[in-house]
Symmetry: D2
Subunit: 349 residues, 4 copies
């Protein structure tokens, strides 16, 4: 059993990390922190864990943390993980950071999109971008930057196209729709996330300029290769009246003729060994089929008239989009089975 | 008072036509048909109208119809309105057809998208496309083809761009999200529209090839002008877990630099005299702000990096997207105030 | 046209009062206050009213109020209306108070349930309880205490039983389910009213001791008559994952045998002249059939085995449960048609 | 590993049985039937199981069944399980029947409530009512009648009261609210279960006379004891606009004074050894805290004025209300750990 620390465990992602790690066959949750809940039983903040854990929240303390656990999930707001990660790494711990702090490898790009000064830029090069389907090197990483929820869906949707068809680099549009647990923090009491403001509603937000654009473009550049023009994406998220789930519809123009059957076959081959990715072919995927699972389901369409390819991907934003993928990364870093603790199928049949 | 006939009044759009016409200051609902409900009280099919009307459904009869009413709404499935419209027009009646039968002026284009042989093609040239904000000639029409719900939102969103900036004709992507009342007919008992299949879910459908593409392209061609390359749009609808409302996010590339403030001003000017269109500027519109109203609300964003313009429009698919716009058209055809019977603001504040 | 003042117009009920009064054929909204929004356009707080009013919120000022309007709706938190009502009454204004301040005629009972000291107890006897179906004397009132949302549904459900069968006074159970707009104020940012805390959920609250119990028992006592044992009700509200609507299921034991057909007939007769009450007979009513309407729909069942009668009533908590009933009362106080401004049927067919 | 057969696996409960059994550490799913899907892959009917099973549906065949599996779940409509159970029992198999066929021990009572002639009445006495918290004898059973969803919640809510206070046998009211997966079968395409008929709605159904009343009264009689008057309950279910979950609010009058603290203590003691029951004390339970879990959460209130006790219980109707409890029963019948395969906490934190 590996001793696990979860730093910042009061929010949605933290709660999901707790839920998964408590049921993980190889993990023992040893250290859980929340500054606002320090001293309180974890089960007070998460009634569904009552009877399943006697843990209490600690206030974070570096020495205590180092003594208590071997591997850490950092589930903190952007800008805070970078305060803790260097110290934990020095003591030899493995880290999966669920925040955005180490996702963008280029310091200038990070600071331009995040408007936060990076205080441990020397780690940016060491961190591995934790989308295991594209970055098998997470197996050797000590610090993994867990991708954002939107980039996870968008990149899994787009990656197989690169190397298969040439893409107009200016044509990529990513229209994303997310449940509320991905947008509003659990304790962020804003009128816009109240029930009456969300129910029976939909609205776009951050129509231009969402932070996640940075990591999407970074990864697409790597996929396109240095020889190609860097892809510029338009990424617009929308808020859905549901609790969990992301639907991402990606539009782009192929510069070569696309045969849809061959394209679907390409996707199946590309993800042959990926236990959490399913290709639904010409049937559009549905959010309900991933809620509660660490799965990503991808469907495809092609518009012969316009040469446009449409790729649709769904994930549970709290699982494959956050806590589930974090555990998947940790499994790989620790040499465990990739699916350990993550085999539940979706809840809605 | 004008005597009104509603042909095919059992569905969602028919019910809304009934609701609006019964409260309309200048209308008297004189004739209401439903083949499946013939002889039954209207209030049995629409319990909310109990105490508000004593009408019964008739089976459609041309002579009876002609004697009973002066103006008709046809709320029938695609392919059925064209059976009735010629006869009613011959007796001098005014018609607003809510189906798709007369929306596409070119017979070949109609038959290619609808896979239905057109039986009264001679009327295609006489029918006016009933988007009054773009087609003031509805005032003189005898036969108005009421636009589809998706085209209404998309065209109101895109029209002001034409004549203001040059648009890459291959760049137009329309990502639409609709409530269930717009997708599934009221009596269409399909598992995909059951509560458990829609709730907490989202899915794309008809990712390529939706019939509404035909009228969107037809109207954009007219806006672009004969000199321009014909716009080819990619239009992908999604099913939202709500009852009413459409959110349309349009993406396109401008070939000129776009100043967002000037663009917003363009929209305000363009719709200055349109009583049902509101420009929300840089604030994305929200579906809840139009549910129950005949309004269309439009917001704008511009991505300087990519030269992409994003236009977001919301409507209530049953009102501005169907029955409300039909009454707006009829008001104009009859020389009444455009807003008569349609002044209710949205229900969700 | 009558000049109307709405005091405290920023919340849900205030917004509905605005919406109704702006469309009312005999009202001119002349004065609208909100302390937190003073000076701001009303349409900023209620985007759906943009283009429909140029009004701005005022800060309340007695002299200004008296000069501006002839009749007032007070839409303030419990304990605040009693600060303003005496002054407005002295200047001869008519008042409908939407708060709980004047609903409970007995000062001791008021203070016991509300834990608020009453500062104008002399008005308690003058105020009329504004459930017009039971209190036609609202026509002569200067001060009407608009009932709570839960009591409106419960009392309309129970009233016809009195005088028709003898009721075990200890047997009355009222299980109520309400949408969120009835429970959480619009600006009350509490985690329990966030989308993620309400969606796909149900929970009871105030299982015992809800303030509305006081007015329910007061009115049932009057219906039962002085000779009868005072009814003691158990009233338990639940929070539904919907925005608008109340479902009230009332259970009681009849001491006489009950014939369901006769009982239904009793209800139809009792409400023969009530334009907003519909009896659905043995078909249980549905919330969707009243959302957006000032209606109350009532259904009935009888359990022969146990002698229990079940009465189910639905209302829109913001209309018949608040703003709609307030306008209904004002119409009657002013000698207008009872249904003026209130004739919209429900939005969901 | 025990070989498991699931007979009638196409519906909601069948799908949940599949999901649980596929993840169960001691079960191997060996035989799965559906008459309508015979020959089709299970993953076609349940896309979320794609990649998790290669099973195909069989048509039920007694010999094949007997050879394939050692223990069976019958997930069939009322009246069909009784056709199969006798034969399977004769071959020595263990059975958990999820239908209502063996829940009511008295044949007359069964036939009066179900209007179905019982074809294997000799088994009624051998079947054990599978509410393990009240019936530990399921451990020795060969045929367990899995309780209905409503009775599970109601009986767990009420049982600890018996033997603790005297209850007015005529006072018991059970107001239940259920998500749609409990009411409408998965393939039952009825307009009343379409999205537009359920969304933003609530309605009672079977206000009197629901079949589940029979087993509730049967079990309460046993709890009350032969000396007491048989309890007569009024049980009224309502349809909630959610997919999963039941909220049951029970009202009754105690004939002795009740101390709420002592009552809560009684509940905690009563369920001390029940791994799936949690007492929330004076905090009302919430549906979201059990969705996805086999848990039952119970909260309590007492109205001193009226002597009424209010007990609120929540379950996931498909888990503790159906498939989860069925597996719990099977675990006990087979001598396995009671919680095997059932330890997931709820999905909504």
């Amino acid at each position: 059993m590996i001793s696990i620390g979860i730093i910042g465990a009061r929010g949605f992602a933290g709660g999901e990390l707790l839920r998964i790690c408590l049921g993980h066959p190889e993990f023992r949750v040893a250290y859980v922190t929340s500054e606002s809940q320090a001293g309180q039983p974890v089960a007070d903040a998460f009634p569904t864990l009552a009877g399943r854990t006697e843990l209490r929240f600690d206030s974070f303390d570096p020495a205590h943390a180092a003594a208590a656990a071997d591997a850490f999930f950092l589930s903190l707001p952007d800008g805070e993980a970078m305060q803790l990660a260097p110290g934990l790494l020095e003591t030899g711990k493995r880290i999966v950071d669920v925040s955005g702090d180490y996702r963008v490898r280029d310091r200038q790009r990070y600071e331009a999109w995040y408007k936060i000064e990076h205080t441990s830029p020397e780690l940016l090069a060491r961190a591995v971008y934790g989308l295991p389907e594209l970055h098998p090197e997470v197996r050797e990483a000590r610090l993994v930057a867990n991708p954002g929820c939107y980039p996870t869906a968008a990149l899994l949707a787009l990656a197989p196209l690169y190397g298969f068809v040439r893409i107009d680099p200016h044509s990529v549009v990513i229209d994303a729709k997310s449940g509320v647990s991905g947008a509003g923090g659990r304790s962020a009491l804003r009128e816009e996330f109240s029930f009456t403001a969300v129910n029976q509603n939909l609205r776009a937000y951050s129509a231009v300029g969402h932070r996640h654009t940075a990591e999407i473009e970074q990864e697409l550049e790597a996929l396109a290769g240095a020889a190609a023009a860097p892809p510029q994406v338009t990424f617009t998220p929308h808020l859905l009246p549901i609790t969990r789930g992301i639907y991402t519809t990606c539009y782009l123009r192929a510069l070569d003729a696309v045969d849809l059957d061959a394209l679907i076959e390409r996707y199946r081959t590309f993800y042959r060994d990926a236990p959490f990715v399913q290709i639904t072919g010409m049937t559009p995927p549905e959010i309900r089929h991933v809620v509660g699972a660490n799965d990503c389901r991808i469907g495809l369409a092609a518009d012969r008239r316009s040469g446009r390819v449409i790729v649709m991907a769904v994930i549970d934003n709290l699982l494959k989009g956050a806590a589930g993928q974090a555990v998947q990364n940790m499994n790989l870093m620790l040499g465990l089975t990739e699916t350990a603790g993550l085999s539940s199928p979706a809840l809605y049949l």
